[in-house]
């Protein structure tokens, strides 16, 4: 299973094995990792699963849809590396992925 490192805003690190096919959001939520709220459960409707994807992984995680882009535009503390983690599907190619969480999702 691909290993994903989730880093909370306070620096706490969680290295998890996440099943292929789940989203990066689901990997965190199903393991009760704080910092990703995911209010809409992955419907790309809430923008409370915001993460920063380590620059080295930007290409591998794929492109944003127009929907994701617009949602992110209005999220708090958005950076160039911001993504909605429910829109990133976990595959073997993402083994080693590192995502950081923003200060707040609300």
């Amino acid at each position: 299973m691909p290993k994903i490192t989730y880093i909370e805003h306070n620096g706490s690190e969680h290295v998890l094995d996440v099943k292929n096919g789940l989203s990066v959001m689901e990997g965190a939520v199903k393991n009760n990792i704080p910092g990703i709220d995911a209010d809409c459960g992955g419907a790309c409707a809430c923008a409370t699963c915001h993460v920063y994807v380590d620059a080295a992984w930007a290409d591998k995680v794929g492109a944003k849809s127009a929907m994701e882009e617009s949602m992110l535009d209005f999220a708090e503390n958005v950076e160039a590396t911001s993504r909605l983690s429910c829109q990133i599907k976990v595959t073997d190619a993402l083994d080693g992925l590192i995502v950081r969480m923003p200060e707040s999702q609300h």
Binding site: D39, C40, C44, C46, A47, M67, S70, D73, F74
Partner: protein, 409 residues
């Protein structure tokens, strides 16, 4: 006899109950947590039951809030398939239907709502379904497909999503609504007209202003919906979607303040300081609108779970959120936020004919609510503007060439 355990007892293992159990552990709560659920399943998400799951695009695992082993690993005791039957506030205990009694220090009522049934002849025929639980959804899914005609009684979101899913599965669908328009209770006329046209263009029939008198059947199975005008709308399965009253009887019997739901404050606390109520069952304050309301949405369940978990663990209360919700039908992403109380104007932004537009509800120049179809920027900016209660320019809001960033600037 009481099994001494105490800590937090949660009645209702649904979206709100499951979420607060996990949140309490996240927030460092270490005393026992017991989660009592009437359904045989660990907490799961209901929204996909009328959407992705119904169309076969999501599996059962993805519905579960947490993997089953999570509860044991984090010391959350789950008692499933058993109903809580009474609360003894003086003794601080909950009685279960199977005779057990549990002691609590803090009680959380998260019993949700149930599908309202129709008090008409034929409502007990086979094939007359409602859609609240995973079991309901299994039954519905098994009745949809090529050659099957679904009659949806009640034109709300869940019924419309089911109709869209029925079409996606190759069957037919007809929506029967008592009001002259669908979504009458929850959306404005522009949205009602838009969704009606969009569904019609995709083969869904509508009977509007139609009063259902009874259901007809053969061999105990439904085969039609009889209307007051004498016509019978034929169908193979009927889905009744006419609202969801709160499961607040257990709170009423215990003498907690109820008013179409259990009355709570901004911390989700009931009239008894040791008892909280969260989710669809609660009647809660809406700080942005200076009034109280019973909301039925995931966002509401989660917000109240955060409020109560913060209060129980002594954390600062979370900032009030603007209520919001979403619906998926075909390729439409519908998102809405706020409440259209005391509205004196609406502003349409974009053209419904393009299936990308938003309707803003205003009091003076202040946005109270937004309904957005395939218009995430309008939804997100609208939600922020509602929270800020900041006046905007209506003419700029109505002009899609002015970006929402500029409108909000």
């Amino acid at each position: 006899m009481s099994e001494t355990k105490s800590g937090v007892v949660i009645i209702g293992a649904g979206h709100a109950g499951g979420t607060i159990a996990a949140l309490l552990r996240q927030y460092g709560y270490e005393a026992p947590i017991t989660l009592i659920g009437e359904e045989p399943l660990a907490p799961y998400q209901r929204p996909p039951l009328s959407k992705a799951w119904l169309k076969g695009e999501a599996d059962a695992d993805s519905l579960a809030l947490k993997p089953t082993e999570f509860y044991a690993e984090t010391g959350i005791e789950m008692l499933l398939d058993v109903r809580a039957s009474a609360i003894d506030r003086a003794a601080h205990t909950v009685a279960l239907h199977d005779g057990r009694t549990l002691a609590y220090e803090t009680l959380i009522i998260a019993t949700g709502a149930r599908a309202r049934s129709l008090p008409i002849p034929g409502a007990d025929l086979k094939g007359v379904l409602s859609l609240r639980s995973a079991a309901d959804a299994e039954e519905l899914k098994a009745s949809l497909g090529p050659g099957k005609r679904l009659a949806v009684i009640g034109g709300g979101y869940i019924g419309l999503e089911a109709a869209a899913s029925a079409r996606a599965l190759g069957g037919e669908a007809v929506v029967i609504e008592r009001e002259p328009r669908i979504l009458a209770r929850v959306a404005c006329e522009i949205l009602s007209d838009f969704f009606t046209a969009y569904h019609r263009a995709r083969g869904v029939d509508f009977e509007l202003g139609a009063f259902v008198e009874s259901l007809s059947g053969a061999d105990g199975h439904v085969n039609g919906v009889k209307l007051a005008d004498g016509r019978t709308i034929s169908c193979d399965v009927a889905l009744v979607g006419v609202g969801a009253p709160p499961n607040d009887e257990i709170a009423q019997a215990a003498g907690l303040d109820c008013n179409g739901g259990i009355v709570v404050d901004i911390h989700a606390r009931t009239s008894d300081p040791d008892i909280f109520a969260i989710g669809d069952v609660s009647h809660r304050p809406l700080p942005h609108y200076h009034r109280s309301f019973r909301l039925e949405s995931v966002a509401n369940a989660l917000e109240q779970a955060r409020q109560a978990a913060a209060a129980i663990t002594g954390r600062p209360p979370p900032a009030p959120e603007v209520t919001w919700n979403w619906s998926d039908q075909y390729d439409l992403k519908y998102q809405f936020a706020g409440m259209p109380f005391e509205i004196d104007d609406i502003v349409l932004r974009g053209d419904p004919a393009t299936a990308k537009f938003a309707v803003f509800h205003l009091t003076g120049d202040v946005i109270q609510a937004v309904e957005a179809v395939n218009a995430p920027a309008e939804f997100m900016a609208g939600r922020q503007l509602i929270a800020q209660r900041r006046p905007i320019s209506r003419s700029r809001l109505a002009d899609p060439t002015v970006s929402m960033k500029e409108v909000a600037a």
